[in-house]
């Protein structure tokens, strides 16, 4: 019975989101099932908590019925016969090229087997283990526990406020103002089960992981990758040890943010190539959802703006826009009150000062530890090759390169030039924040490699096909 309830609790957001992506996507989209199910599932997992918030704000608390009916209603609306389906493609989508040889089939089978084995392993681990990680029990599941008990989003305040108010009507934990999306997902699972269940409430993490794989594969195919290439890089993404750990020891928000930001980036890249409205809608939706998952999501979402500028403007205008953005940002930092909080931290916290130890921490984390297997080296090898190929990074992949470069710059700045460097020195935060960027980074790596192969077929990497 518990297993059935878990499946139903997961199925509802997945169905709701998939119904809408089914309505949104044109009929003829390559790898459509993966796009619909993957994107829809992730969308559903992130939108469901917002529906719960809405009902709570309207005074209905966190009851199952309003949320259930809303989700079902939205699902039926998306499937309504009268609803206009996605616009048919104005031009043909990329189609598969040469048939597969025997060796390629073998490779494909091996990759799929490894992915399947990883999924089964992680599914077993996450379904058995009670809540384990530090932050999960410090400020994510604390809210879930209280909200489940009260069936309402009882306010959480900082420690001093709690003391001043004698704890009347309020609760406290270490980060009372962290976004509610993740705790609400856990509340949803426990509401459906009717009891607090520390293993079952973490099953959305497995679903998110699977959705991420489906999204990556689908977007890779849409970007022109062959089946084998798309599966290979999907395998590389899904086999990242730190990402796997965040599934097995579920309870953190980082993987969800990585999936949402990665999806936004992939959709933006493919929209810039194909100019299909549905991709723009998805990119926007996931960009808007990022800050609702974790505070840093706002920063990552903002890195899409320079890329959007590049997509919409001529390069010279986009460069001017960049400079203007940077100058405005600097002005804002200089003029704004030092106590002004941005993404949970004050401007004073962002005062630049070079931290060499933090830089070393990043280097060790990416290039020496096994958290990312060889992802750091993959990017290190491919980016220079991308620069060597005329027009690859500067034209064909400019939007994607812009986003990844801006996000990477923000990442390095945060750890190497601010007081948050301790998170890199002791490896406490540097890996977790890299999870946010890993799917986007892997997508860029895949596209550079794809470009290499394409130019090789066309006669040489120095020739633009």
């Amino acid at each position: 019975m518990t297993a059935l309830l878990i499946i139903l609790a997961l199925l509802l957001p997945a169905l709701m989101g998939s119904a809408w992506t089914h309505a949104l996507l044109p009929r003829r989209v390559i790898a459509r099932p993966f796009m619909v199910l993957g994107t829809g599932t992730l969308l559903g997992l992130l939108v469901l908590p917002q529906i719960m918030r809405l009902w709570d704000a309207l005074g209905w608390g966190l009851a199952i019925l309003p949320t259930l009916l809303t989700c079902l209603g939205l699902t039926l609306l998306a499937l309504a016969p009268g609803l206009r389906r996605g616009v048919s493609a104005a031009h043909p989508y990329p189609t598969p090229t040469a048939p597969m040889g025997h060796a390629e089939r073998l490779l494909l089978a091996l990759l799929l087997a490894m992915i399947a084995l990883r999924l089964v392993t992680l599914a077993t681990e996450v379904s058995l283990r009670p809540l384990f990680p530090w932050d999960a029990t410090m400020h994510w599941a604390t809210k879930a526990r209280v909200w489940f008990e009260h069936q309402a989003m009882v306010p959480f305040v900082d420690h001093n406020s709690w003391l001043e108010r004698s704890g009347s009507g309020v609760y406290t934990d270490r980060h009372p103002h962290y976004p509610a999306t993740i705790p609400l997902l856990q509340v949803w699972m426990t509401l459906v089960l009717g009891q607090w269940n520390e293993s079952a409430m973490n099953m959305p993490w497995l679903l998110c992981f699977m959705a991420l794989g489906a999204i990556f594969y689908g977007q890779a195919r849409l970007a022109g990758a062959s089946t084998t290439l798309a599966v290979a890089f999907t395998y590389l993404l899904l086999s990242l040890p730190l990402l796997n750990t965040h599934v097995a020891l579920a309870g953190y928000a980082d993987m969800f943010l990585g999936a949402a930001f990665g999806c936004a980036v992939m959709c933006l890249h493919n929209w810039a190539r194909l100019r299909e409205p549905w991709l723009a809608v998805l990119a926007l939706a996931f960009a808007l959802l990022c800050p609702l998952i974790k505070n840093e999501g706002l920063i990552w979402a903002l890195t899409l703006i320079p890329a959007l500028a590049v997509a919409l403007m001529q390069r010279r205008e986009a460069a001017k826009f960049f400079v203007l953005l940077v100058l405005l940002g600097l002005l804002a930092v200089l003029v704004a009150p030092k106590d002004l909080a941005i993404v949970g931290h004050t401007i004073r916290d962002f005062r630049p000062s070079f931290n060499q130890e933090a830089l070393l921490g990043i280097v060790y984390s990416i290039f020496q530890h096994s958290s990312w297997h060889l992802l750091g080296y993959l990017i290190l090898m491919l980016v220079p090759l991308g620069l060597v190929m005329p027009g690859a990074l500067t034209r064909k992949l400019l939007i994607l390169t812009t986003v990844v470069a801006c996000a990477a710059a923000a990442y390095f700045f945060l750890f190497v030039f601010t007081g948050f460097g301790a998170g890199a020195e002791n490896f406490a935060a540097v890996g977790r924040l890299a999870i946010h960027l890993a799917p986007a980074g892997m997508f860029l790596a895949m596209l550079i490699y794809q470009e290499l192969l394409a130019r090789q077929r066309a006669g040489g990497i120095l020739q633009e096909p």
């Binding site: 526990r145 489940f148 020496q368 530890h369």
Partner: protein, 383 residues
Amino acid sequence: MLRATLLSLVLAIGATLAGLSVLHSLRAENTVKVPDIRLGADAFTVAGASGRPVDGNLAVELGKGSTGVVIAPLSVRAAEQYHYLVLNFAEIPAAVSVSLGWSAESGRSAPASVDLPVRARQSMWLQTSEIANWAGPIDNFGIIVRGQQGDTFVLEDVQFLNYSIWRQVRNIVNDWSNYDPWRRASMNSYTGVSKLSPFYPVVLVVCVLVLSLLLYGVWVLLFARGRGIDWRVPGLLFLVCWFTLDLVWQHKLLRQVVETHQQFAYKTTDEKLKAGPDAALYAFISAARAAIDQPDARVFVASTDNYTGLRSSYYLYPQNVYWVLRGPELPFLKYLQPGDYIVVAKPSDLKISRRAGLLFSAQRRLPVDIVHDSPVGTLVRLQ
């Protein structure tokens, strides 16, 4: 394409091993090669536990003290001359912890020890250059095993070995197939090594990858200059190297899943928490929660250990809990009210006088009622 890939890879692996051998030779330039030493089970005596010979091995059962020590005399002038230390067990429970100790006769060198940072297993290869203070003369060598009463391990032998390429490979394979269960820091990073590991797996594999790419470049120059680089070859080389690391990771995940299954399968949440790493703390907090008779009572958690404080406060929810990470154990007196509960989870600087009914620290004394007491902590209520 496949031939080029395979050849580059095989040669690169060979070159890497040769490079390791050269590196070792350079480091051990002045070291004299000495014969390997094998200490059989019969060389060991047992202390703190009961031991008996079994089929030429030594079976040791831990007693009430939960610690068993096996010691053997050794005659080594310079321990650093032995590159590998190998412990072979016919049988050893996974959950025990193993330490090594060694000493020389009076004055020749200080006694030293090392806790092995990985799960015990039947064959444990250790590179001695990674063991702190492993140098100088050794006259006595011991293995200390800590577990639970009734745990039994069966020692086959202990070997002190010189360097060879083949042993280097075995050491690497043994290290990579080590397993350590999830730790608190697992969410932040996966280093892939323990304190005694000889190499970071990523660094070693990258050496193979770079060499294989260079060798493929040579192949192209020699045999395929006209065709140029087939970029599928570097892609395959990269994939193979990634696979290697990923198989090691997958192996660790599978070992973990087996342990998780043994620990938590077919249990409710409450039973899981009572069987997990916080079992004692959870039992105490569960009892404390049951003893709190007001659902809206304020509960302050006091502990000098961050983990204990964190977990105690989490298990107390949905009570209205107050606990501060790296803060004072209790807030200022003015914020405390009669009827407030305080969970004092050990370790703590707060002391309780049960006879006087007082909770006191260096700064204050608070009259309290003892509500629930356990070896792990105490729940009190302010009068």
